[in-house]
Symmetry: C2
């Protein structure tokens, strides 16, 4: 092959050759506007050139060495700080929510700030109370058995907590509502939502989640814990130069933080890492894995050191089993798995219906709704012990083997029928409460409520099997039962039921098994858990793919390309945008460009040599162009009719002398190496490029001519609206809408109103 | 933007428009030659078009439905079969190696096929023997205390086993030597090594590993277990249409199989999944995760059901701790971590030196070497109990708490000094033996020997700390010790030492912690394990990045682009090949093409419109071109001077009428959408493309003109030979070597001789 005359040997990579007038400037640009998508490739290049520059600026003095060490260790320092803070924050939330929970029941005469456990520390009687602890009827000098008064106080406090939480959320941090998992997923996938991970969200969500849990609404604090941890990650990392302006790098910290969040919520550091890997993160290089591991470790150690429950345990419902399972129990495990799958599908479908309804009619009544939910939950729950007590506490009771003591008649043979009845109704009612509660305008997670439902149902099944075994011990199926120890352990059924329900809702697999494993440490029960989870996932996938978070993403119309999104058999040319606005390298005037910037919301523009030949010379992003214009206007008297150039080294642009007022050269701001593909490329491959490499836009070039442009949003639009079947037909008009502006994205999937509509309409 | 006249709307993706004359043909092509690299993108496209075609060919009859279900379930069926077979095979290996181990000591008079344990089942005396079990001196009617005779038999049998194993490997399956982990990594990264995963390798490696373990050489069976599992995966999956011709899809099964291998080796299903994810696999989509999870589950259940040790335990050294750790012990954990890091670095460096020496001088003496190793190990080991007994058994003893019984004086206070002395020498000697043994021409792994070394050293440290505590209980550091139970548990130190040593050698983190956790089920010891592992990794990384498998990959010069390989600050144009052989769309004759094919070993060729304008029209792979030529020759009398065309739809190639003997059109075989990039693209981004997308070659195009070509091998060459610093200098001559032919790859990194030289020289 002859050497090509056009290719000067040894060209620099763009980022190195690009030297804008002032170096700090490039970092000062707010490179991403709200609701924009991150360009991972550009961010990676930026980081590389930053590091390269740093390396070159250093000599061999000890100061340089120190600076270099700091530079290298920054990510670890941030991970350490984030881990500590997440652990600390989790401990605080635990302590506050425990105290508030007890305030519903009474107060401590030796100190109002003590909860029942600490009030009665080492002097408690069999129901955990003591003389220093007054319930409200006693406090008001009613006779001690005036339970009605206690009920009223219970309901009042519950409603009050929910009211305050919802009010705080509404007034100070609307983003603190909900679980936040789906948004975190989208953010880690490269979407920018300003304020979602801010300090105010952190504070209000931490406070709010403690109150909501204390109010007894059927929602958990584990989902919000992930959001809170990510807030911590964001708030801390933005003080460090490495992460401040690099959205892609910052997402590594967020991955680590989300793992720490799960680690403290479930006392499961490895489970947290896997959760981040399996559920949350889009990009997860090996380096991130180690940092995530470290961050989760630090968070857990911190929580362990604070020891908020004073039991040495990390979570209330930690449990240990010693007994073994029998092979015939596999049928029960499969049954529980089927239940989990059906439950997950049902809950998700119903909850989405409620979400749509809430959006339509309850938009402005978030506070009232939350208060009402707390009220109704307290009223209903009062008549069923398994609904009344705290979900974590209930699980710790249901998970237990009978040898460890009897609670609420769970282990008394004569009461079996009545307890099973209670458990059944607790399952049904809690499902109903969950459906209406999850998604309310307060911090709320779905993990623990799901587990609680599964635990009730599992214990119900376990007690049923136990009763069968007791009544018909001679059935051949029970022949493998040992004679010296009880054959059926209903506690393990409860445990597996919890795993199944959680899997049904979230569709986690590996991380879920590890979390359940870290909760029990029961080596013997890994295989049953795996079997149950596999069955749940298989059954659940018959109804819908992806967990409730993925469904929420679709409902909200976030620009998130799921790992499992596919669109086979069509080519890039069928989906790409053809009428894209382009700039020409020469011949444009400042007023043209400003007009285009005003009229089009697009986040970037291809630059071509001229509109006739459409020879692609680069790509310029909106924010950098805007910055360059502002800077030119600020530093010299530029006229609106000034000529604009987008010069690259290879071109023969007219030489521009000095800071003339009649020329601007945007050359240094151009990305000269955008991704280009052939129009016949299968769309699947382009989707893989988006998923794995993360460019903001892919340009479509045929023989050196720009013929189209493809963004993640174009792909999503094609994925979610059934594509044209016949590839010979012209592509449908909606595929020509142009690179949709980041500012008016959103409505790809439905015409129903959109959840975070501040997000899409601003 | 004006609509471009060249872009016909609705172009098909290549794979759909491409319709070679006979459909089976495209599947019949041996698409990858030995030592070629897999083109992941092409394979993915192939699978898509296969599925697309299948879908279109089906109607709504129940037959179609059945076929579709089978099609969808194939991967799961394969995973099930692979899991079962891996579990079964692991059980067999365990049983055989246990029996052979005992044959060294004596034989069972009630049946020669029984090992000592089963011979003495329920009648064993305190040392595990019984009257039915004869040691060799007894068998030969020597007096029972003629220990010398037993020693001679012990050594003879050990040498014999090693000899047979090495002989089998040398004669029938040379690829069965070594651990195989580094090759598996490379294969999963997209390299083709024919026969490496064949049936013969499977059989010989399974037999061989049982013998080698029985021979007592300081090598383990856990590394080979991964290789064996992958062989099983390959042998089974090649009977299924979905995997037979699709190397990329087959690698998904191999990922799952490798997880199953670890799962059965350590009795750790989740650990296996994570090992596959963290250590082995290059591509690990979510679907693979679930299949891997399933496969590991099935393998573990199978092994559990067979229960080879009749203990209900999956591995010999399973252990359980009940006691808690003290905060001051963190210093000990850190100390063990530092040891692990130093050990790993030392062992790896020394072993690489031995490997180089072995390659130079011992190339043809593999059998003798293995026999000698067994001999020397047996002789040295005879004088130290911790070297003499089986490594797994030793670990099970060292890991134990003292309450569970006393072994070899480990728990007797007066013997502390002498036992510590033994442990210390066991550590030192075993390190030496490991260094010379790992890499011998027999199946051999480094996992368990490393753990054994760490376990000895850990117990040594633990006993030291215990003695300190005993002698100076009033030291303030011991103030947190509880008074009722022993404060220091040396067994846990041993356990953590094993974790540290294993981490030092392999640099696994998350998967290692999970494996150790699944071995013990000790919730309390997750945090200590994590701390130790983090320290080990930090210390080890000071000396080298990557574990011993990665070092082996580098030493062997495999074309493997590690996730952690980086090359900052240079552009694609500096590394790309400029003088690439190209074909022109028109004007070439068959004889030209055949000559080029003969002369150049390149695995693919760009096709351009003509050599003047170098307008890129596509890329054709060597194997497909060869197939097309052969087919043309077979079906019609083609003349050597026949004109060859590489037509694409967009071009105006001369119309070729029928099966004329004077024309061949290779159009259908062209990949019309190869990846193209700009010459200024940072090389890092191109490396990311290789790592994440896996194309075989990236073409470099400037304004529609082909100016160069980049393969993984060019990148590797650049990574491992310090690149030119000044980007303005012309690139170095060795960068111009052309797309190196797959058949003579290898020597990028050193001029030293290469391990598998059959592999590189054939």
């Amino acid at each position: 092959m002859e050497s090509n005359e056009n290719s000067s040997s040894g060209l620099n990579p763009t980022t190195l050759s690009r030297e804008p007038e002032d170096d700090e400037a490039i970092e000062a640009i707010s490179r991403y506007e709200d609701f924009a998508t991150v360009d991972w490739i550009q961010d990676a290049n930026m980081e590389r050139s930053r590091r390269h520059k740093l390396m070159n600026s250093l000599d061999s003095s000890w100061k340089s060495w120190l600076w270099l060490s700091y530079e290298a260790g920054q990510a670890w320092i941030v991970a350490l700080l984030v881990g500590c803070t997440v652990g600390l924050n989790a401990a605080l939330i635990n302590i506050i929510s425990e105290w508030l929970s007890d305030v519903k029941l009474g107060y401590c005469s030796t100190g109002w700030w003590l909860n029942q456990k600490f009030c009665c520390w080492e002097v408690e009687n069999e129901i955990g109370s003591c003389d220093d602890w007054y319930d409200w009827s006693m406090r008001l000098n009613f006779p001690r058995d005036m339970l009605f008064i206690n009920l009223v106080f219970y309901i009042l406090f519950a409603s009050l907590f929910a009211f305050v939480a919802a009010f705080l959320v509404k007034s100070y941090a609307p983003y603190a509502a909900g679980s936040g998992i789906s948004e975190i997923k989208v953010i880690l996938g490269g979407f920018v939502i300003k304020g979602f991970l801010g300090l105010w969200t952190l504070i209000i969500k931490s406070l709010g989640v403690a109150m909501v849990v204390a109010s007894g609404i059927s929602v958990g604090k584990e989902g919000p814990a992930v959001h809170i941890a990510c807030c911590v990650g964001n708030v801390i990392s933005r003080n460090f130069s490495k992460f401040k302006d690099n959205k892609a790098r910052k997402r590594e910290i967020l991955s680590a933080a989300s793992a720490a969040g799960v680690a403290v919520a479930f006392g499961s550091p490895i489970g947290g890492v896997l959760f981040s890997l399996e559920e949350i993160s889009t990009f997860f290089p090996l380096k991130t894995l180690w940092r995530t591991f470290f961050c989760a470790l630090v968070a857990t150690v911190t929580l362990q050191a604070i020891n908020p429950f004073r039991t040495g345990k990390l979570v209330i419902f930690e449990v240990t089993y010693n007994r073994d399972w029998q092979f015939f129990e596999i049928f029960s495990f499969i049954f529980l798995g089927v239940f989990g799958g059906l439950y997950g599908a049902f809950l998700t479908k119903m909850n989405l219906i409620v979400a749509t309804y809430r959006r339509k009619y309850l938009r402005d009544y978030g506070v009232q709704e939350a208060t009402f939910l707390a009220f109704i939950t307290a009223v209903i729950g009062y008549f069923n012990i398994f609904l009344r007590i705290d979900m974590s506490e209930m699980m710790s009771i249901l998970f237990k083997e009978c040898e460890e003591g009897d609670y609420y008649g769970l282990c008394k043979r004569p009461q079996t029928a009545s307890v099973m009845n209670l458990l059944f109704w607790a399952t049904v009612l809690r499902i109903g409460l969950c459906i209406i509660s999850y998604g309310a305008k307060v911090p709320c997670g779905i993990f623990v409520p799901s587990m609680a439902i599964g635990a009730c149902f599992g214990r119900f099944v376990g007690m049923g099997v136990q009763a069968l075994h007791h009544n018909y011990p001679s059935w051949p199926i029970f022949s493998t039962c040992p004679t010296d120890v009880p054959c059926i352990t209903p506690g393990t059924y409860s445990f597996l039921g919890a795993a199944a329900a959680l899997c049904g809702v979230t569709k986690m697999t590996v991380s879920l098994v590890v979390i359940m494993f870290e909760l029990t440490g029961a080596l013997n029960y890994i295989l049953p858990t795996m079997i149950t989870v596999m069955v749940t996932k298989a059954v659940g996938d018959l109804f819908m793919t992806g967990g409730i978070a993925d469904q929420m993403i679709k409902l909200n119309g976030f620009p998130f390309l799921d790992k499992e999104d596919h669109l086979f058999g069509i080519s890039v040319s069928q989906v790409m945008v053809r009428d894209q606005t382009v700039f020409t390298s020469t011949g444009m005037r400042l007023e043209n460009i400003e007009q285009i910037l005003d009229e089009c919301g697009y986040s970037g523009f291809p630059v071509v040599e001229d509109r006739k030949n459409m020879k692609l010379t680069g790509f310029i992003s909106r924010s950098e162009l805007k910055y360059a214009i502002d800077k030119a206007k600020r530093t010299r008297a530029i006229s609106p009719s000034a000529y604009c150039f987008f010069s690259t080294e290879d071109q023969n642009t007219p030489t521009v002398e000095g800071n003339s007022s009649s020329f601007i050269d945007f050359g240094p701001w151009i990305d000269q190496t955008p991704f280009t593909v052939h129009p016949k490329l299968p769309l699947e491959t382009a989707m893989d490029l988006f998923k794995k490499m993360g460019p903001r836009a892919i340009l479509v070039e045929l023989n050196g001519k720009l013929i189209g442009l493809l963004t993640k949003k174009d792909v999503l639009r094609a994925v979610h609206s059934k594509p044209v079947k016949d590839p010979l037909l012209p592509s449908r008009p909606e595929f020509h809408r142009g690179m949709s502006g980041d500012s008016n994205s959103g409505h790809y999937f439905s015409d129903s109103e959109v959840e975070l509509d501040t997000l899409v309409r601003r």
